[in-house]
Amino acid sequence: MYDGEFAAVVGPSGCGKTTLLNILAGLLPYRHGTVQVDGVPVKGPGSDRGVVFQEHAILPWRTVARNIGHGLELQGVPRQERRRRVREFVELVGLAGFEERYPHELSGGMKQRVALARTLCANPVIMLMDEPFAAVDAQTRITLQEELNRIAIATRKTILLVTHNVDEAAFLGDRCFVFTRRPGRLKATVTIHIPRDRRIWKEVVADPAFTARRDEILELVRAEVRVE
């Protein structure tokens, strides 16, 4: 991946997208090939690769602020500095005023914002996202996708997103890696030539440059979905 790139991995359910992401994260061992971050091979999980999980993986007994600052706490960042950076990311994900709330007091979308802020706040080299918006309703998902795009621009973070949602992949990705059905292999790479700051749902749906690419991905994925 290029530095600062937003890549989307898209493929039919069960093709091993999540497995791939867990291997990249270092949570699963791999048999063949290599995973390298800045030329250094990956051995187990590390704070250079931040992960935003499918489920809400934030700790229910920690407040929003303490969840977001958790990575910094683990890195031994002093309290003052931590507080400053937590505030910065709380504002970035739009959770100002909710710092002292507990996760059970938040909506599903807000919990995912906390998870996103926690990962970003730890300042990883690359952020891995595993279907982060799968569990939220359609309206919230669209908002969160636009927010994620805005955050990706603001932080210039290298991001790899795994999803089965073709719209999501096409909307967010600079490049979309389409996977075949199980056993998943790379089938095609589709590049989306729309500047990031022009990616707003209302506009892209009317933009043939977007819809053509999206439909191309959709066809590639649909060809992989087995007919029962």
Binding site: G26, G44, S47, W61, R118
Partner: protein, 273 residues
């Protein structure tokens, strides 16, 4: 200083009193009265009640004598001290043991039957062997109480650790947490509700173990009082001892253990949807 006398009815309506009545205080008082009435009735209807079942009044009468000599407070203190030391140390050992075993799936599966085995051997079943080792000493009672606490709490902690969602552990690992930090930040807080419930459970078992231990191996203490009163046919003292065991447990459970448990669950058991 009769702060709850009828001369100050306003105090009956104080926040504390209201809380007491609202949280089942009325029911508790009613049930107690009912039980005492039933007890009196049975006692009055049988032949030789002093030998078989003395009435509440004569039980209280016998306790006055003991109280006056200062024996009862002494015994009570002794019994409670044995409970507190034995169970606190048992819990303090059981929690780290449960966490350590719970860290690894293979280890926890291996330990599960062992823990289950010992959990089924109650304190009283352990007493004979411990008495062979250390005789009728303070050490024997202490070991039996500690043993009784250890296994239920270790079991609860193990279950708590194993049932903490893996996703929390994985999330912390990707944030760069060490094993120790994962224990501190995820497994221990995740197991807190189980620890609280397990602690209450094991103190309940320990309470029985103290009494049993005192009966067979103790000197002084409520259990010892019951046992020795039986041998000289002082039924009133036997019943007094039993009543004390029950009443003390209700107080301990209601005013110490349950509040701690529910506070812990409220603080740490914030389950996500």
């Amino acid at each position: 200083m009769s702060s709850l006398s009828v001369a100050r009815p306003d105090l009956l309506r104080s926040a504390r009193a209201r809380r007491f009545w609202r949280h089942g205080g009325l029911e508790l008082a009613l049930v107690t009265l009912l039980a005492l009435a039933l007890w009196t009735a049975i006692s009055a209807s049988i032949a030789r009640p002093d030998r078989y079942l003395p009435s509440p009044v004569s039980v209280l009468d016998s306790s006055r004598d003991l109280l006056w000599k200062g024996i009862l407070p002494n015994y009570l203190g002794q019994t409670l001290w044995r409970l507190v030391t034995g169970s606190l140390i048992g819990i303090a050992l059981g929690i780290p043991f449960g966490i350590l075993v719970g860290l690894n799936r293979t280890v926890s599966e291996m330990c599960y039957p062992i823990l289950n085995f010992f959990q089924s051997i109650s304190g009283i079943a352990l007493l004979p062997i411990v008495m062979i080792w250390w005789g009728t000493t303070e050490k024997t009672v202490f070991v039996v109480v500690l043993y009784t606490c250890f296994f239920p709490i270790a079991f609860s902690v193990l279950t708590g650790v194993r049932s903490t969602p893996r996703i929390y552990v994985n999330a912390l690992r990707t944030l760069g947490a060490s094993r120790l930090r994962i224990v501190r930040d995820v497994l221990l807080p995740g197991a807190m509700p189980s620890i609280a419930t397990g602690a209450r459970l094991s103190i309940g078992y320990a309470w029985r173990a103290v009494i049993a231990g005192e009966m067979l191996a103790g000197r002084r203490g409520i259990g010892w009082m019951i046992f020795s009163a039986q041998q000289v046919d002082r039924t009133a003292q036997v019943v007094l001892g039993m009543a004390l065991i029950g009443v003390l447990w209700i107080l301990l459970d209601r005013y110490v253990l349950r509040p701690i448990e529910s506070d812990t669950i409220q603080r740490w058991g914030l389950v996500q949807r």
